[in-house]
């Protein structure tokens, strides 16, 4: 009987849970993290050919973490292919809807990218100012140099928790049986940098061919 009574409540809780978005991950305190990146476990990225090569990484609060000078950071490492021709590496931190302190908004993985040589020595570092907003997230594009054999993508503890606000304009199309119409909206969206989130890593060749 009790179980029957609780069914509507459970359903309601289920529906509400489905409607709410996760909050940004602002702290990794209490985690035991690697002291240096484990490059032996770096996922290999294939050399791009006529089409791009991409991998999506979900940074989660319980994922691999690294002790940095600024504090613990989530991270992922990739092994880069030998540069037989100039490659472009793009790392994109995707925005996603999130429950912020002041209401609904977006969280964005705080990006910090390090390129390392075959011995694991850092040769180039790119942080937030190098990441540029493109459509639905912040990304950095770099031409890889021959000596760069690993890419380390980590969250930036110095950036986590910082806020941004952006105005966006959108128009939606609506279709009904006998009519079509559009609605336009301006939105002021709040963004908070998070340790967690979705990061897309893409390798492509340098070329002038139009995108398909």
């Amino acid at each position: 009987m009790m179980a029957k009574r609780s069914v509507p409540g459970l359903l309601l809780a289920f529906v509400l849970a489905g409607c709410s978005h996760p909050p940004p991950v602002l702290s990794l305190n209490g985690r035991t993290c690697d002291r240096s990146p484990n490059l032996a476990k770096a996922a290999p990225l294939a050399a791009p050919g006529s089409s791009d090569v991409s991998q999506t990484v979900e940074f989660q609060a319980t994922g691999a973490c690294l002790d940095t000078e600024s504090g613990p950071a989530l991270y992922a490492a990739f092994a880069l292919p030998a540069a037989t021709q100039p490659y472009i590496l793009e790392v994109k931190a995707r925005d996603q809807q999130a429950q912020l302190a002041g209401g609904d908004g977006y969280s964005l993985p705080a990006p910090h990218l390090t390129l390392l040589d075959a011995a694991g020595k850092p040769v180039r570092e790119l942080r937030a100012p190098d990441f540029i907003y493109r459509g639905n997230g912040a990304s950095v594009l770099v031409r890889l140099h021959a000596e760069e054999r690993f890419v380390l993508i980590a969250s930036d503890p110095t950036l986590v928790g910082q806020k941004q606000s952006r105005i966006t304009e959108s128009m939606d199309y609506h279709f009904a049986r006998l009519a079509t119409w559009t609605t336009g909206n301006e939105n002021q969206n709040d963004y908070v940098f998070s340790h967690a989130g979705t990061v897309v890593v893409k390798l492509s060749t340098v070329g002038e061919a139009p995108k398909s």
Binding site: I88, E90, I132, Y133, R134, G135, N136, L141, V142, R143, H145, S165, R166, I167, T168, E169, S170, M171, Y173, A179, T180, W181, T182, T183, G184, N185, E186, Q188, S204, V206, G207, E208, A209, P210, K211
Partner: protein, 240 residues
Amino acid sequence: MASRIARLIPPVLLAGALAGCSGIKEVPYDHGGSAPVKTIGLLPPAMSTKRPAVVLASTVGNSFGLVGALVNGAMRSAREDRMEALFTAQHYDVNAEFENDLQATLEAHGYKVVRVAATRQKTDFLEQYPSAAGTEIDAYLDVADVQYGFLSAGMGSSNPYRPTIDFKCKLVRASDKSLLMQEEIAYNPLNAKDGKVTLPPDPAYAFVDDDTLNADPPKTREAFDTALRQSTDAVGNLLR
């Protein structure tokens, strides 16, 4: 079915025009490359827009097929007549300001800039670049498909007009014409496209309707000038 497709055409065309449909591949500049660029030959930007567009993206008229589109077109034309007159009265030459701002941002990033004359047949990138023989030019900056004006996403005071600018740019090495950088930049676009450098509008400038947009010409000019400078600064930042 045919009438359904006909109804779709005006909003689809509108969105395409605003979004800039070129879809080029993004190529980053390699500042630490083997042959550094010191002097840039700045070509005159190729303007797709001959006068400032004033676009109300979503209107009731969009729902009424060809007649609605014609009415919308007439209203848009009237708005653009006013804005063109405002820019003229303010002595605001978008082409000249664009070139000046590009030169300023390149110089701020340490490049020497040489203005290069070029005749454009199209609004796209140049197909052939001038010979750099006998000059100090290391690379040409080609800015094309420039669309600009003011945009409101829809009706009502919650959808104010704000400046919008959209263009693509590329840096081409003068000696062998190799591609050094290629990007698209969109300031306050409608439905931001993945891949394009997307700049949000400055919240300080919002005009609730067409009358407000024309009520204080110096402020309207300042709003657009700020947007233009932020857009050209983005080009400089891509060449850091």
